[in-house]
């Protein structure tokens, strides 16, 4: 599909403060029509606050917002017909069935009865929820709830879609299905603004990514350009026991062709532009009474770039993933 490079979303100097907390700090970005733009950052970075301001659920302190060419800084209602929102929490009506929920959401956008019923049936099939269409939302599993909430967000076929952590806390199969649907929507030309703290998800899906930390965008670029510095690098992770504090320095003096870094307690990261030979490294350590318990090849990814740019350690991101649970990474 030929891409129209006109902007679907333009944000300039957006700032939001909650009391003493500066939730979003002077951020600016642009998302082109048909683009899948990722907004990546840890929990509390300001991702949801940004989405809330863009969609009209929160008031901005300063800045400007244009959606689909419509100036909606002070009148978010002006562009709400163009957008769909999948929030980070399922927020449909527990007392309505899946089918009724979708029909109701379609009616909010003025769709006629036949149109909304057909669309609801289509989406229930697409998301694999047809068998549960007459079951109350309250009785859905967490994964089913997330999928129906996603379906409700796209019921009116919006040209611009905001996805707030769409795969957080759901099972592996559902997460995979949701990612497939995101990719399909993107292929069909929907502009997608995706917030996530799953780095692999952003890397897999997004064309451009902005890293947001503490309310500020620290880097925004094409995914391929972000990955460029780590592409072609060979990384080996050595798990050891009995190592001293200056092990990385000692190894660097023995193997000047490699770069060494203590990436975690009892772990050494070995980086090189050429293949890393494991044998000499293991022997070097064993001679110094340091036992190597594991040697693992690591393929550099966006996570490495994220850690490098933001300074946020990979162990912190791992904790974030564990906290969120579910199948976001699979």
């Amino acid at each position: 599909m030929k891409r129209d490079n006109s902007p679907a979303l333009e944000v300039a100097h957006l700032t939001k403060r909650y009391g003493e907390v500066l939730a979003v700090d002077d951020i600016s970005f642009r998302v082109n029509k048909g683009e899948l733009f990722g907004f990546l950052g840890p929990n509390g970075a300001g991702k949801t606050t940004t989405i809330n301001m863009l969609t009209g659920l929160a008031r901005l302190d300063t800045g400007t917002i244009r959606i689909g060419g419509i100036e909606c800084t002070h009148n978010p209602k002006a562009a709400q017909h163009l957008i769909g929102v999948v929030p980070d929490e399922s927020n449909l009506y527990p007392e309505l069935t899946g089918f009724q929920n979708l029909c109701f959401c379609a009616a909010l956008y003025g769709m006629r009865k036949n149109e909304r019923q057909n669309r609801a049936r289509d989406l229930l099939n697409t998301f694999g929820l047809a068998d549960a269409s007459n079951r109350k939302f309250d009785g859905y599993s967490r994964g089913m709830k997330r999928k129906l909430t996603f379906a409700a967000g796209i019921i009116h076929q919006p040209p611009i879609l905001f996805l707030d952590e769409p795969t957080t806390g759901i099972d592996v199969a559902s997460a995979r299905q949701v990612r497939q649907i995101i990719a399909d929507l993107h292929r069909k030309g929907t502009t997608i603004f995706l917030t996530t703290h799953y780095i692999e998800e952003a890397e897999r899906l997004c064309e451009r990514i902005a890293f947001i930390v503490n309310g500020r965008i620290v880097r925004s670029d094409r995914t391929t350009d972000l990955l460029q510095p780590v592409r072609g690098k060979h990384v080996l992770l050595l798990s050891v026991s009995g190592a001293g504090e200056n092990m990385a320095d000692e190894m660097a003096s023995g193997f000047p062709q490699y770069q060494f870094q203590s990436s975690a307690p009892n772990q050494v990261r070995v980086e090189s532009t050429e293949t890393v030979n494991v044998g000499p490294l293991v022997r070097f350590l064993e001679e110094r009474k340091i036992q190597v318990t594991e040697a693992r090849r690591h393929i550099p990814s966006l996570e490495d770039v994220f850690v490098q740019i933001t300074g946020i350690g990979s162990d912190f991101m791992q904790k974030e993933k564990e906290k969120a649970g579910g199948g976001g990474n699979q």
Binding site: P87, L92, P94, L108, R112
Partner: protein, 245 residues
């Protein structure tokens, strides 16, 4: 047209999900029956006082029906974040809140007719001026609903909404002339009666049912209408200030 599809579906969804549930239907029937019975027993009066009680029972049925339902449903939807879904819809906040409140208004109006139907079996209703009763019921329904809305958007928890609405509702039973004439209240309390909207609705109903009223009907209607507008605008302002932060 699209906006009215949204309006109609919000209204019907609320009716189905909240108002037409068996507990609410039984509440609408039992509540006026209980109040009427209580007054008969307490005053020792007979069926001849049905007409005297009717305006008060009608008003209390509307007031409790609308405020209790609306304050709970709005607060509940706000807590569960399903209200955000409505705020994201491309309809104005005014139309959205009118849709959300229309169900409660209809529920209140239906509640008001329960005591009328019961009274029809017990007393002669031929002297009632229906052309006054019907708009008065409508306006009492609207003003009570908007009072419930005002309460709902002022709190964040369902129990707070219930507590806060009782703070308004129970004094109104005694202060608004539902069962005791305002003129029988101590003179220093009477100003309170006149700052409560229900007073004006009850005055119309007393006039239409028994021919006794203390203000002109047109003044009653104007003041009731003004209360409706002010409460609605205050509620919208609170939603804008407190919910879209």
């Amino acid at each position: 047209m699209k906006r009215w599809i949204a309006f109609w579906n919000i209204l019907t969804k609320d009716m189905r999900a909240y108002y037409l549930k068996p507990p609410n239907i039984s509440w609408g029937i039992i509540f006026p029956l209980a109040w009427t019975g209580m007054f008969f027993i307490r005053t020792g009066s007979g069926l001849e006082s049905v007409l005297a009680l009717l305006p008060g029972v009608m008003t209390i049925s509307i007031l409790f029906g609308t405020t209790s339902m609306l304050s709970v449903t709005i607060t509940f939807e706000r807590r569960s974040r399903s209200f955000d879904r409505l705020l994201l819809a491309p309809i104005s906040l005014e139309l959205l809140m009118l849709a959300k409140t229309s169900g409660a208004i209809l529920f209140g109006i239906v509640n008001a007719f329960v005591p009328i139907i019961i009274a029809a079996f017990l007393a002669d209703l031929s002297g009632i001026v229906w052309s006054l009763v019907v708009p008065a019921i409508l306006l009492i329904g609207v003003v009570s609903t908007f009072l419930g809305l005002f309460i709902a958007v002022s709190v964040s928890e369902v129990f707070e909404a219930q507590t806060f609405s009782n703070f308004f509702r129970f004094p109104m039973i005694f202060l608004c002339g539902l069962f005791f004439p305002i003129m029988s209240l101590p003179i220093f309390i009477r100003p309170l009666s006149y700052i409560l909207p229900v007073t004006y609705g009850v005055d119309i109903l007393h006039g239409a049912v028994n021919g006794e009223h203390i203000m002109s009907f047109s003044l009653d209607f104007i003041i009731l209408g003004a209360f409706c507008i002010v409460l609605f605008l205050l509620s919208l302002r609170n939603i804008n200030r407190k919910w879209i932060v």
